[in-house]
């Protein structure tokens, strides 16, 4: 059961600011989603090994070779703020 406290905690971790109405709404919605997902628990999985990935693939890798870098103007094209060639962000902590 998701409580309003859980919603507040997750919102904080995700840096989301929620109004009281939103907190109420998401508490309800998240509970509904989890309740729906509860159906999965009805399956008998005794003989099923745990799944780490949904695709039947393994060992996909590349050789150790250096490729192209993005030009600085493109690197910073979407930066809300920059200083020289640095991204500029609010101080955290």
């Amino acid at each position: 059961m998701i409580t309003i406290k859980d919603v507040e905690h997750v919102a904080l971790l995700a840096r989301l600011e929620l109004s009281d109405e939103e907190k109420q709404m998401y508490t309800k919605q998240l509970n509904a989603i989890l309740e729906y997902a509860q159906m999965l628990n009805e399956l008998n999985t005794d003989d099923i090994p745990p799944t780490a990935h949904v695709l039947p693939l393994k060992n996909v890798w590349r050789e150790d070779e250096v490729g192209e870098h993005l030009p600085p103007e493109e690197v910073l094209a979407n930066a809300p703020e920059r200083e020289g060639q640095f991204f500029k962000v609010p101080r955290i902590v």
Binding site: H9, L12, L13, A14, R15, A52, H53, V54, L55, L57, K58, N59, V60, W61, R62, E63, D64, E65, V66, G67, E68, H69, L70, P72, V75, L76, E81, E83, G84, Q85, F86, F87, K88, V89, P90, R91, I92, V93
Partner: protein, 481 residues
């Protein structure tokens, strides 16, 4: 007063020396202009897919085998979620419940005894970028971010809480560094950040089975800092407990200048990383044959090399341990003994004058101007009697400073040993004549007087007189007078 026992475990991050990053083809080269060693993948742009660099896996297996770990048959990557601008994706790709390797160990020497320190696990992950602040982090109004280091491959090596003192922790880290360096997968330079160490520290009343509350110590950038920080933290915790206080579980940072640890404000309300499997990377099923192939290419490691030095070169265990502590030191030693068979003489010079000068100049042996050939040429000059042991010290300092050949230094400075008996005898006569009182003391049985007279002869010959001749001639003259 209660006697306390210290419990230390270390978490060590090592940057792997691949050419490209762990999940993208950007270069891992150190430095570079800000944000030039980046591509859409390591910038975390939407729609990109990470692909594992096979060399990272190979290097990580190599390091894990050298640390006596079991390599997992099945391993996977996970997302460690946290909001901090040093990673542009808001998560770090790491490994959580199925790390690459587990159950390893390494041996350290404590007071002449071998002690085994367990290694809980080794996993692969991506490094984070660098935040730059104007002034201090506390006063700077904003952070500047450079993502060049983001995605550089790391392995994290987590030890068991097996260390019982700051000295043991230091010995563990030094040994870990040596082993990883021997395998060639990392430079392990603490000053460049390619070897980083955090420590978990707690204390408990001796005899107690339960662990005390631990603190995590960060920001220790040298072996010395590690030892000092841990020593401080242990003292601090014991003082708190003795005053009836309680240890708060927290992360603390080492302040090198003040010599104290301070609580850090946490990045996150109660570290809640919400790990989940990384859907963009598929699992690893690690081929046993490949693991054995990697094992077969492991070089001789520090412990084996140390034992070989004891057996083959007949060196004391202490010498062998010091000489094999870094691969470079051991390689240097072996180059020397290939040119000059007296291993103990080489060892004495390397552990004595050479190490002293390296430490004084804060250098490692790779930057030493004295080549193994030059050092052994100097030893040969001593054997031939061209220079005395005392003069050799002067020659060596000059070699260290200039990189010149020992023969040239001896020539230029006129340091050839005086072995002419007549010449020394004349000086001995002079010294005896000028120090009648001391001679009297000696004859009355004051042995120290003899040393003084030897010193006077050496001084008069500027250290060049052959010491054995000086001793013999002095004795002869004194006893015939």
């Amino acid at each position: 007063m209660t006697d306390y026992e210290t419990i230390i475990g270390l978490e060590v991050h090592v940057e792997l020396k691949t050419k490209s990053k762990i999940f993208c083809p950007s270069t891992t080269e150190f430095g570079g202009d800000p944000n030039t060693h980046v591509c859409p993948v390591c910038l975390g742009l939407p729609g990109v897919l990470p692909v594992l660099n096979k060399k990272v896996l190979e290097y990580a297996i190599r390091a894990a085998l050298a640390l006596n770990c079991e390599i997992a048959e099945y391993s996977k990557f996970d997302r460690k979620n946290y909001y901090y601008p040093d990673l542009p994706k808001n998560y770090q790709i790491s490994q959580y419940d199925l790390p690459l390797a587990r159950n390893g160990y390494l041996n350290i020497e404590v007071n002449g005894q071998t002690k085994r320190i367990g290694i809980t696990r080794i996993h692969m992950e991506e490094d984070a970028g660098k935040l730059i602040h104007q002034g201090t982090i506390a006063t700077s109004p904003y952070s500047l971010v450079d993502y060049n280091r983001t995605g550089v491959p790391l392995i994290e090596i987590v030890s068991e809480p097996d260390m019982r003192s700051p000295e043991e922790a230091r010995a563990y880290l030094e040994k870990l560094k040596a082993i990883i360096q021997y395998t060639g997968v990392s430079d392990c330079k603490m000053e460049e950040g390619s070897l980083r160490c955090d420590a978990n520290v707690s204390v408990r009343p001796r005899g107690s089975r339960e662990f005390g509350t631990k603190t995590e110590i960060k920001n220790m950038n040298s072996f010395k800092a590690l030892q000092r920080a841990l020593a401080y933290e242990v003292e601090r915790q014991i003082a708190v407990l003795q005053e009836g206080g309680r240890i708060v579980q927290e992360t603390r940072t080492w302040d090198e200048n003040k010599g104290i640890t301070l609580p850090m404000r946490s990045k996150e309300e109660a570290h809640d990383y919400r790990y989940f499997p990384e859907p963009d990377l598929v699992p690893l099923v690690i081929d046993r044959q490949w693991v054995e192939e990697i094992r077969a290419t492991l070089p001789e490691l520090p412990d084996e090399r140390r034992n070989r030095y004891i057996k083959h070169y007949d060196l004391p265990a202490y010498d062998a341990t010091v000489l094999t502590a870094t691969k470079e030191m051991a390689d240097y030693f072996e180059e020397c003994v290939a040119l000059y068979p007296n291993a103990k003489a080489v060892s004495n010079w390397m552990m004595g004058d050479l190490s002293r000068l390296l430490n004084a100049h804060n250098m490692d042996i790779t930057r030493c101007k004295v080549s193994p050939r030059q050092l052994t040429d100097m030893l040969k000059l001593m054997d031939r009697g061209t220079i005395s042991g005392k003069i050799a010290k002067t020659v060596f300092e000059e070699m260290f400073a200039t990189g010149k050949d020992p023969e040239q230094i001896v020539q230029e400075k006129g340091l050839v040993q005086i072995t002419d008996e007549g010449a020394i005898a004349a000086v001995v006569e002079e010294v005896l004549a000028g120090n009648a009182k001391v001679v009297e003391d000696y004859l009355k049985g004051k042995d120290r007087a003899f040393g003084f007279l030897v010193g006077q002869v050496m001084k008069a010959t500027r250290g060049k007189a052959n010491p054995e001749l000086v001793n013999r001639l002095l004795k002869e003259k004194l006893h015939s007078s």
